[in-house]
Structure formats: structure tokens, C-alpha cells
């Protein structure tokens, strides 16, 4: 019998779980490294597959971003090449892990129902995995069972609400897009960047520039993430337009910073050749002016962004999505 892979492996220390599609059944393969156990669900018996959203592990993503920013900061601060490579690799690995986790999208728990059983499908942990699973599985089940025509009256038993659970009112229900805190992180990073830059430029505190560079990398990662799937992270309408302006300003800031570094390097090289005093960023007029503009612009951008996010923080479900409360059917 030929099996088609339906999901990636969900790995753990002791093994993995994976879903496969056979000619007439779904196979759950649970591997314990040196043995495999199989559970078969015939397509004719599958009544339903459900997925329910699960909370995002925000603390984990924030921690990963924070540690990666710290690693990038260390990379800029240390002198030894080996240490720079180490911190760079660690920072990149942590940041990419966090980005990958976010890109995979909303977490969910998937369940397969038959007449006599209810099985949690462990490998399906994201809504995107669930979509891929059903895309492959639905035609196979439809070929065996046909297509369902929902007729509530024909249901022999209808689901009852959980005891003591009143239906929600419309105004109680709110959309909670996955990763909604990402725009918030972006504008916090912009504000933090402004503070770090001010510490370097106005306070003549060298480490401030290193911290600012770290925050800039964080901003770029977050912007790329938001630009790919803005709706997933709750950006729409005017807020989306404002995000594009923010992204453009961050890109311009990067270009100006590169120009600044190149100009500074040229001046230092020229000073070395002519034997004059080595110039610093604080001695160059245009750099100071550009820096002050950047600090003011970032502060304004961060505050406005946070304010806009706060004003549009929750969206009540529109009437079109309103659902009647569940009532026991006759």
C-alpha cells in the first residue's frame, strides 16, 4: 500500500508523531525512536475534523527576540572575531526561530471524531497545518462518503452547551488576531532606538550606538514580518498605511546610517594620511544634525504608532459574523 505524507513530524525527546494517508484510511504513526506504533482511521468512519485556536506563546516569542537583540548587541560590543561570530550566530538562530514561529501562524488543537472515538491529532499544531491537512483529506473522504448536506433536523442528537455556560453576547466577542503584539513591539523598538541613539549622540555614550544598531536590526526583522502578512498581525486600513510609512522611514534611516559610516571612515582615513586629529561623529556638523532629526523623528513615530495601536486596540465582530446562540434542536 502506498502512503502519502499528510503532515510534518511533531518531534519530542522520545520520538515523533506523523500523519499519512493510505488508500482508504488515515494512519497515525507514533515513533519511539526504535519502534513505531500505528493507528488507522478508515475514511468511511471519519465524522469530523475540528481545530480550535490555542493561545499564542507570546512570552516565548518576546523572550527570543529580547535574547537575540542582546546577542546582536554583544556581537557589536566584543572585539574578538570568534566571539563576534558566536554571538552573531546565536542572535541569528534565536531571531530566526522566533520569526519562524510567528510565520507558522495561529496555534490550534486538532481533533478527529469518529462514531466511537475522539483523537487529538498531535502533528497538527497550527491552523496552516490544519488547512493543508483538510485540503488533502477532504477529497479522499468525499470520494468515500460523498458530500454533506447540513440539515440540522436530520441530526439524531444535537450538541448541548456545556453545563452552566451562557451564550456570549455579540459585544462580548472580539477578534484576537494572532501576534497582535508585533506592531506594538515594533513601535516600542523604535522608541527604544531613539533613546539609545540620544544616549550615544547627545550623551556621548559610545554603547548607545551599539544598542541603536541592535534595535535597528530588530525593527527590520519585525517590518519584514509585518509586511508579508499584515492582516494576520491585525494591521488594516489607516494603521496599515501608517506601518508602510514607518517601514519606509526605517529603510531611509538605514541608508543614511550607512552613508554616515562611509563618510566617517573616509574622514578617519584622510586624517590618518595627513596626520591630523582623528575626527569623531560629534565633530561633524551634518552628522549631528542628521542624528538629531533621526531622534526626533523616531520619538514622534514611536509615540504616534503606540497611540494609534491603543486607539484601535480591539474590534467588535461585525453583525455579518454574528451567530445565533446554540439551542437544543428538536
Amino acid at each position: 500500500m502506498r502512503y502519502t505524507r499528510l503532515s510534518r513530524k511533531k518531534r519530542s525527546i522520545f520520538g515523533s508523531v506523523q500523519l499519512w494517508l493510505g488508500d482508504d484510511h488515515l494512519l497515525v504513526v507514533r515513533s519511539m525512536r526504535f519502534t513505531e506504533e500505528y493507528r488507522r482511521f478508515h475514511l468511511r468512519d471519519i465524522q469530523a475534523i475540528t481545530a480550535t485556536e490555542q493561545p499564542q506563546l507570546i512570552w516565548m516569542e518576546v523572550a527570543l527576540f529580547a535574547i537575540s537583540a542582546l546577542a546582536f548587541l554583544m556581537m557589536l560590543e566584543v572585539e574578538a572575531i570568534a566571539a563576534r561570530i558566536f554571538f552573531g550566530v546565536v542572535g541569528a538562530a534565536l531571531a530566526s526561530t522566533a520569526v519562524y514561529d510567528l510565520v507558522r501562524g495561529q496555534r490550534c488543537r486538532c481533533r478527529l471524531l469518529t462514531e466511537v472515538s475522539s483523537e487529538v491529532l498531535d502533528p497538527i499544531t497550527r491552523v496552516s497545518d490544519f488547512d493543508r491537512l483538510t485540503t488533502q483529506l477532504e477529497p479522499a473522504i468525499a470520494a468515500v462518503q460523498g458530500v454533506l448536506t447540513v440539515d440540522a433536523a436530520s441530526m439524531p442528537v444535537f450538541a448541548q452547551p456545556a453545563p452552566g455556560t451562557p451564550p456570549l453576547r455579540q459585544e462580548d466577542r472580539v477578534e484576537t488576531p494572532a501576534g497582535k503584539y508585533i506592531p506594538l513591539l515594533l513601535y516600542f523598538a523604535i522608541l527604544a532606538n531613539a533613546i539609545a541613539y540620544a544616549a550615544g549622540l547627545l550623551g556621548r555614550f559610545n554603547e548607545g550606538f551599539g544598542a541603536a544598531a541592535s534595535f535597528w536590526f530588530t525593527e527590520v526583522i519585525l517590518c519584514v514580518l509585518l509586511a508579508f502578512q499584515p492582516r494576520r498581525f491585525g494591521l488594516k486600513g489607516p494603521m496599515l498605511g501608517f506601518f508602510y510609512v514607518t517601514a519606509a522611514l526605517i529603510a531611509i534611516d538605514g541608508i543614511v546610517t550607512i552613508a554616515l559610516i562611509v563618510d566617517l571612515m573616509q574622514r578617519i582615513a584622510e586624517a590618518g594620511r595627513s596626520g591630523t586629529k582623528t575626527p569623531t561623529i560629534w565633530n561633524i556638523e551634518w552628522m549631528m544634525t542628521a542624528g538629531k532629526i533621526a531622534i526626533a523623528g523616531r520619538s514622534l513615530l514611536g509615540v504616534v504608532g503606540l497611540l494609534a495601536l491603543w486607539l484601535g486596540r480591539d474590534r467588535v465582530v461585525p453583525a455579518s459574523e454574528e451567530v445565533p446562540p446554540s439551542q437544543p434542536q428538536p
Binding site: 500505528y38 465524522q47 480550535t52 458530500v147 442528537v157 445565533p324
Partner: protein, 203 residues
């Protein structure tokens, strides 16, 4: 359980109006979004078949229930079985009697009905690499042992899903040969070292 779809978060019932929505739907009780794909099997109640009594002496009876009429022969052992004993496993194993279904080594019941398989390739790869990287010297024993076992288990039942089993067996044999070659070279170099046999300058 028919028609009983519940939210996995609050266990509240999901009404049919919310089934098969492409974008999912919010649970009316806890407000969490859930996606449900419901199939026609939810409208059916599958009941076990009752065996029919034998009408005349000429009719075949079930091996397990002599008073019941046989409806099919077991695809594994050939015994006649009634509607109660018939376990229809589809294309996996066909019609199987309860004895063959529970027997781990039923001839022809189809290895496809197996509930568990041992992954000899993984065990041997672990043995080979473990012996080599765990202070090296155990590979003196594990390297040739893994070669012998890889050949021994080559034809044993493998995983029923696609897997690089052959590649792993070949890898075990190649690594085992390499490690054995290293040990032979070590012994040879020790045996032929220039200092061996000389017990100081001859007087």
C-alpha cells in the same frame, strides 16, 4: 455521539450553521475560533451486524458461531465467518476473523494490519555510532556486530510508511567496515612498530 460536535476549549456545542465555514467560526460560548470539517458519516449511526440463523443443513455455518450463517470467508485463514465475526478492514487486510485480527503473526493477515514495528535500522545505526563515539574502543565489538546484524535483519519487516531504511542499513554496513578497517590498521601498526622485539642494543 452522532452530531455531537463540541468546542475543544469550553466543550460547548457547535451548531450546524457554523460547520464547514472556510474562515472558521467563533464559539457561541467561549468566543474562541474553531474550524470544523464535517462529513456525511456524522448523519449515520453505524450499528454492528447481527448474525443470521442457519435456515437449512446445506448452508455454511460460522466457525465461531455454529448456529449462525456464514457470509464470508476470512481472507487470512479461510474460516467461514458470520456478520458478527466479520471485521472489514477495507483494502488494508480485507475481511478478517477476530482470531486473525488479534494474532500478531497471522499468515497473510497482512503485515499491513500490524500495530507495531521494530525499526532495526535505527537500532543498528545507534549501536554503530554509539560504539564509535562513546570512547571509541567499544567499536571494536559494535562495528563487526552491526555489520552482521544489518545483514541478518535486512529482510525483516520494515516500517510500513516510506522511510530511508535501505539507506540506513547500507550506512551501517559502510560505517562498520570503515571502523573495522581502522581497528585492523591500528593493530597492524602496533604489530609492525619499529621498537617491537628489540630489547636494547646488542653487545
Amino acid at each position: 455521539m452522532t452530531g455531537d460536535l463540541r468546542c475543544d476549549s469550553c466543550q460547548g456545542g457547535i451548531p450546524p450553521e457554523l460547520w464547514n465555514q472556510q474562515q472558521g467560526a467563533l464559539c457561541p460560548y467561549c468566543g474562541k475560533r474553531s474550524w470544523t470539517r464535517v462529513f456525511p458519516a456524522i448523519q449515520h449511526t453505524v450499528a454492528g451486524q447481527s448474525p443470521e440463523a442457519i435456515g437449512s443443513e446445506s448452508e455454511s455455518s460460522c466457525f465461531f458461531h455454529p448456529r449462525s450463517r456464514a457470509i464470508v470467508a476470512c481472507d487470512s485463514c479461510g474460516r467461514f465467518i458470520c456478520g458478527l465475526c466479520d471485521l472489514d478492514t477495507g483494502s488494508t487486510g480485507g475481511h478478517i476473523c477476530p482470531t486473525c485480527f488479534t494474532s500478531p503473526k497471522a499468515p497473510g493477515s497482512g503485515t499491513l494490519l500490524d500495530k507495531r514495528r521494530v525499526l532495526y535500522d535505527s537500532i543498528l545505526l545507534g549501536l554503530n555510532l554509539g560504539g564509535f563515539f562513546f570512547f571509541f574502543w567499544p567499536s571494536l565489538i559494535t562495528a563487526p556486530l552491526s555489520i552482521v546484524l544489518a545483514i541478518w535483519y535486512w529482510r525483516k519487516p520494515r516500517s510500513i510508511v516510506p522511510r530511508y531504511t535501505t539507506f540506513r542499513f547500507v550506512l551501517v554496513i559502510v560505517l562498520g567496515l570503515l571502523q573495522t578497517a581502522i581497528w585492523i590498521a591500528l593493530f597492524w601498526s602496533v604489530a609492525n612498530s619499529p621498537g617491537r622485539g628489540s630489547r636494547g642494543p646488542a653487545l
